[in-house]
Symmetry: C2
Subunit: 444 residues, 2 copies
């Protein structure tokens, strides 16, 4: 087909918020672009609700949507299931783990970040983090198994260890998990057991800084703390975790060391750019922060590489002086949409204004009927806590959920949970059986 211009090839690596919204925007370019979206998973995951899967309120299929069905009618876009492992920025080629190189004219790196154990990878088996659906079903399994084991355990000390839950990290994920656990213990399971009282569960939220929700205004964080404490959560700020194993968590506080016997530790701390993002940084010589995230310019590309965009959690995206775009859903949605537009503008020879992040604010929910918000553009109205915050949170999450059926199904589940105080997807899958009840002493 000589004489006809080839479409501009855009490769998008990662189908999270940033990659998804970028690819969607590029769909408007029609024959101008040829988009390839590569992801290791076949689905887009609505990460803000993942903790609800981990705590049995929603089923995995209700917060995820197959990428192929999202892009079914976007004819200039092709979805590939695969893992990007290498990049050659000179040849402009991305290589997948299991096959051929994919050439690009423009590359969008949107591979996100995962949690890190700050050099203590040996803690990983005892303290799973929450990033994928498999993580969420594993955490759900551990929480439910803990109550089951407590019900079967005769020794009061061992039983208390099963009923002790330690959450490490006081950011939004840790706070929402702690709130959900508090609700499970106080409401959901209240009548389910015959030997234990789930209300006796001991839920610790441990944060090294001197406050929870460090990105929220002071007042919102203090309100969240009060709401958590009302749910029976033991909030420990200024407390550093120094050891985790199958039976014990050791912490350092201002008052000295402390030890808690527990069988269930959940990890909600630490951010590290995903491997491919760090590979791109190495190959292009891009500057990164200490979490491996690439520092991009106001056009969201790597300085010296205008053909490589890095978006969302894989990047340090400029916003206010000394404060980059936060790692929330909007921090992927807005840059994704903007980058898609920018590529089409460039191809059409139109000017591209710099990226400006518009802070839509933060909302966190804490158990039943309560939460905190910080929505600057609503003025004083944007600073809500309790019931109003909870209602706002519900509305915002339903609107952004991908897939119309999911929106209805999640609404039904929430309405039903609200009326019955139930969580109907409390399924133990994977390894259904209790671990054998054995001697709890760690080897000396």
């Amino acid at each position: 087909m000589e004489g006809r211009p080839n479409p501009h090839r855009v490769v998008v690596v990662g189908g999270g918020f940033a990659g998804l919204y970028a690819a969607r925007e590029l769909g408007k370019g029609g024959a101008l672009v040829d988009v390839t979206l590569v992801d290791r998973r076949n689905h887009h995951l609505f990460q803000p609700l993942l903790y609800q899967v981990a705590t049995g309120a929603l089923s995995p299929g209700e917060i995820a949507q197959p990428l192929r069905s999202i892009f079914r009618k976007q004819h200039n876009t092709r979805v590939l299931l695969g893992e990007a492992v290498r990049i050659d920025p000179e040849a402009r080629v991305v290589v997948l783990s299991d096959g051929g190189p994919i050439p690009y004219d423009t590359l969008i790196v949107a591979t996100g970040a995962h949690h890190t154990y700050f050099g203590h990878d040996e803690w990983a088996p005892f303290a799973p983090g929450l990033k994928t659906i498999d993580d969420a079903t594993e955490i759900r399994r551990r929480i439910l198994i803990a109550f089951e084991a407590a019900e079967r355990e005769a020794d009061p000390e061992l039983r208390q260890a099963w009923m002790t839950f330690v959450l490490v990290g006081g950011g939004p994920t840790g706070v929402e998990l702690a709130g959900a656990l508090g609700e499970i213990a106080n409401d959901t399971l209240r009548q389910d057991f015959r030997s234990i009282r789930p209300q006796d569960a001991h839920i610790l939220l441990v944060e090294a800084l001197d406050r929870i929700l460090p990105t929220y205004p002071e007042r919102a964080a203090a309100s969240a703390r009060r709401q958590l404490e009302r749910l029976g959560v033991d909030v420990r700020t200024g407390t550093r975790v120094v050891h985790i194993d199958d039976h014990v968590v050791r912490m350092e506080t201002a008052a000295g060391p402390e030890e808690v016997r527990t069988r269930t530790v959940l990890w909600a701390a630490g951010v590290l750019a995903a491997t491919f993002g760090r590979t791109v940084a190495a190959a292009t010589g891009a500057e990164t922060d200490r979490n491996g995230r690439i520092r991009v310019g106001e056009d969201l590309t790597i300085p010296g590489h205008p053909e490589i965009f890095v978006l969302g959690d894989a990047a340090v995206q400029p916003w206010l002086p000394g404060r980059p775009v936060p790692g929330v859903a909007q921090g992927g949605i807005q840059p994704g949409t903007w980058a898609g537009k920018a590529i089409l503008h460039r191809l059409r020879g139109q000017p591209v204004p710099p990226f400006r992040f518009s802070n839509r604010g933060d909302v966190a929910v804490i158990g039943r009927l309560s939460g905190v918000t910080d929505i600057p553009w609503l003025g004083p109205l944007g600073r809500q806590s309790g019931f109003v915050a909870w209602m706002l949170w519900l509305g915002i999450h339903i609107v952004y959920l991908i897939g119309f059926a999911n929106r209805i199904v999640v609404s039904v589940r929430w309405a039903w949970s609200f009326l019955t105080r139930g969580r109907s997807t409390r399924l133990i899958t994977g390894h259904p059986l209790l671990p054998p009840i054995e001697d709890p002493e760690p080897p000396a």
Copy 2:
């Protein structure tokens, strides 16, 4: 509390249809009985819809309900997560894998059955069966991965192997899986890929007998076959599978041997009583059929052991001469309810009439808008096929689903799938990545 009679201890092993309905009925006995329900899983699974999870139409949480929440308000009942491994019929005690003996006055064995490979256990890794939620998500993973791999494969022969699906067993599970696969290939994925045409998938349904749906009337089976063929399913009756590995299925037909290259084989044949059922048979000397199912009398107990009921798929329950109660949902629901009532009648000194199975009929759905029914008590009206069968099937399944929220959520999903021809829970979880594309030749 001397002077006050101790409640009669009933231990129910298994929370499927038979065990669940028995325990529910026993709830009406109040302080007369003390019920312990033991299951290896923490949830009751609505097995008839499991193939819809395997084919991405429903999410696991939508067809399962935690046993604890079902029995939350039934105060004479206790749920234990555990695996029954031994029985001492003299001491009247059941032993769990991880702990103390549980004494019983009456025992209900409702541990069901699973598939068997007729002595070819080496086929298991290549041809998973469908019994648990984990089986269903594994089958879903394999089906979806096959299409993804085909999209990536350049060699036409290898691509065709990825797009060939062999289902072994022409009973209701095999037929419903084949219908769902036909629908996935022809409707759901029609527009999702760019290199392959999902309609080119080759779906084989292999049955050793000379007809599918052997428990249905001849006419219904013939209609089901026509409906499957209309969906493009290649129905092979009178065909025996003699070899399965990672790349090939070999079959014996009247016309001689045949070989099919495939990467996806699903197993829907063979019934074997679960281990605990066979343990009970050995310990009590009960007679079994060749599938290990215990032959019970008209009171559904083991002859000589009126205190041991065996129900559902774990038993051969008498019905018509030469024809026991079929292995369908009603074959567990009715005996379960009856046994619960019988135990309460006995305790109250009331007479117990023999168990009579009332045939509610059979319904199978075949893809979108079609199916077959055989409902004897509706007379000629009960023999439907096509759209009417499909509507009946929907209604019946919604009514029997446990959990009100699940009923609404499943209705929404079905309505939405119907309108959009979509299957929104097509998630690949577990091992997300494709297997490396390697040489397909089996070692010589």
